[in-house]
């Protein structure tokens, strides 16, 4: 019987041929924790009687969610992480290095066919590189750090066949928002989303990362794609390691298959306070905006900053809007400086903050005020997500956010993109 991508990766990592709903203990290739989750994992590691990590080359901690530290409580937890990583001899990416979900792919240690767990729900991002990567809690992470293994129920797969090519000024973010709105926030619970079709092939690896990143917003355990020449070229910048790309069999079994034609898709916006509360930008155009955010593990990569800069270059943002930009990593930041992107953004009125999660999780870097509207390239618009439950968060592409920052209100970016 044929296998899906996730069935193949879990088979190769558990030494047996497995199918959906089997329960397996699998070998893990890489393990990541961030500053919101690692402190509890350290406590669980000690509680489990852990002494050393299973392989210090296959483990990393990242300080990105509240970086640099905004208060003494966070500082104490950061210190705990630094001391633990130093004592166990594995890598810790400290403040300013960037968002974990940009850094782990850039590390070159993760690629096609890899199995990765991370104590962050958006770990599913590396599905764009044909890796099965998934978010876990701190105790699962601790078990992985000790044993190099984790138990899995092999997920059923949900195949998204995406025909056609996206129109101008419509991006991967619009596409994934549309899909989430269509299947809803629990439409793929415990499933592996497999994205395929002409539209996926046409996307850059960065766009694919946006698609994979938000698989969790429909409840999925993974958001997987096949590897192609674009994948290998992207990886070649960071490593000469060889990976084992995985394609689904022609007779693989999918629990659900949905087909879409994306060629007439419009820019999409997720309205407060649900990621699946999605509509075409026209339905909310004119909504006043007080803060605009470009960055995060969803849309803080070079391509995203370039799209925003192309709209903002030579213009000024609206006088009543704050625009916050957080590059996804130091590498992205440096690349963007070399290209003049940062200059264009700052001249337009952007405040650039430390590479990392920026204001997305509500710990620092731009907590909105009561009654304010925020438009953001992030992946979640839950009430209180950015630190104030009386603010309203809209999610959109970097182009829509940039256009909205100029106008001071939600704006269709198509008038700015030729």
């Amino acid at each position: 019987m044929g296998q899906t991508i996730i069935e193949k990766i879990l088979s190769s990592h558990s030494g047996q041929k497995v199918y959906a709903n089997d329960i397996v203990v699998a070998r893990v290739d890489f393990i990541m924790g961030q500053d919101g989750t690692s402190p509890l994992a350290i406590r669980a590691f000690e509680d489990m009687g852990g002494r050393e990590v299973f392989d210090r080359e296959r483990v990393a901690f990242v300080i990105d969610h509240s970086a640099p530290s905004p208060n003494e409580g966070v500082s104490a937890l950061h210190k705990l992480m630094r001391e633990f990583a130093r004592a166990k001899g594995f890598r810790l990416y400290d403040i300013g290095e960037g968002v974990c979900h940009q850094l782990i792919p850039e590390s070159g240690l993760v690629g096609p066919g890899s199995l990765v767990i991370g104590a962050d729900s958006h770990t599913c991002t590396y599905g764009a590189l044909n890796a099965f990567s998934t978010g876990v809690g701190s105790t699962d992470l601790a078990g992985g750090l000790i044993s190099g293994q984790m138990w899995f129920k092999v997920p059923e797969s949900f195949r998204f066949v995406l025909h056609g090519v996206l129109p101008p000024a419509v991006y991967a973010k619009d596409l994934i928002l549309y899909l989430i709105g269509n299947v809803t926030a629990d439409g793929a619970t415990y499933m592996s989303a497999e994205y395929t079709g002409e539209a996926v092939k046409a996307l850059s690896v960065e766009g694919r990362m946006t698609m994979a990143n938000m698989a969790i917003e429909m409840g999925a355990k993974a958001g997987l794609m096949e590897a192609d020449e674009k994948t290998f070229r992207w990886l070649a910048r960071y490593t000469d390691r060889r990976f084992n790309p995985v394609s689904p069999d022609g007779d693989a079994v999918y629990s659900r298959v949905k087909e879409y034609d994306v060629s007439r898709l419009e820019p999409q916006v997720a309205r407060p306070h649900r990621v699946d509360n999605v509509c075409p930008v026209g339905e909310v155009a004119g909504t006043p905006i007080h803060q605009a955010v470009i960055g995060t593990c969803t849309n803080g990569r070079l391509e995203d900053l370039r799209i925003a800069a192309d709209i903002l270059r030579g213009r000024k943002i609206h006088s009543e809007v704050r625009l916050i930009v957080a590059p996804a990593s130091k590498t992205v930041f440096l690349d963007a400086m070399r290209e003049g992107i940062i200059q264009a953004l700052v001249e337009a009125g952007a405040a650039v903050v430390t590479p990392g999660c920026g204001p997305c999780v509500g710990t620092h870097n731009g907590v909105p005020s009561d009654g304010e509207n925020v438009i953001s390239t992030a992946n979640r618009n839950f009430k209180g997500r950015m630190g104030n439950s009386k603010a309203f968060i809209y999610l959109a592409s970097p182009a829509t956010v940039a256009a909205s920052a100029l106008a001071g209100a939600i704006t269709d970016p198509r008038e700015f993109v030729k």
Partner: protein, 166 residues
């Protein structure tokens, strides 16, 4: 394990930011402190209303969103005995088992806010004493029962020195 308490009712898609906001969870490992803010953005008085043994009762997709294990821990430290929902998001569900917070899938339409409930996990029965109805419960997968019976994943590791789920 048998619990008795009142139902505190919530809707669908209660995410982990609502269970415990990011603005608190990054600051401390003191779960008693986090328990004072549990469900705060949905019901600011929740931690005062809840009595030891009470239940959180919700619709579908409870615990969606982030992987923060502070979410089940904050619920547990608020003295909630179990969460009953039509369905759970997967990372949250695993985290509950790993940290020893009982989670039960059942038809929560048959429970109203304030109902008096008796939950027998071993027997697989929920009795709604207020309404005089018994709710069937979807059983946990065997691996999860094994980890729960060991007292969570940390205790499972201490007992077996690693995974022992066959």
């Amino acid at each position: 394990m048998k619990f008795h308490g009142k139902a505190h009712k919530f809707g669908d898609d209660v995410n982990t930011d609502y269970i415990i906001s990011g603005k608190y969870k990054f600051k401390t490992l003191d779960m008693n402190e986090l328990a004072r803010h549990v469900m705060e953005d949905l019901d600011p008085d929740f931690h005062r209303k809840v009595a030891p043994g009470d239940f959180i009762v919700a619709g579908s997709n409870f615990g969606c969103g982030s992987s923060r294990e502070q979410a089940p821990l904050a619920i547990k430290y608020a003295n909630v005995s179990a969460v009953l929902a039509k369905s759970f998001a997967r990372i949250f569900y695993r985290n509950c088992i790993n940290t020893g917070l009982p989670v039960v899938e059942c038809n929560t339409d048959l429970i109203e806010a304030g109902d008096d409930l008796e939950v027998d996990l071993a027997g697989g029965v929920i009795k709604n004493l207020t309404r005089g109805v018994d709710l069937p419960v979807k059983p946990l997968p065997g691996v999860m029962i094994k980890i729960l019976n060991d007292g969570g994943l940390a205790a499972h590791f201490r007992k077996h020195g690693g995974f022992n789920i066959d």
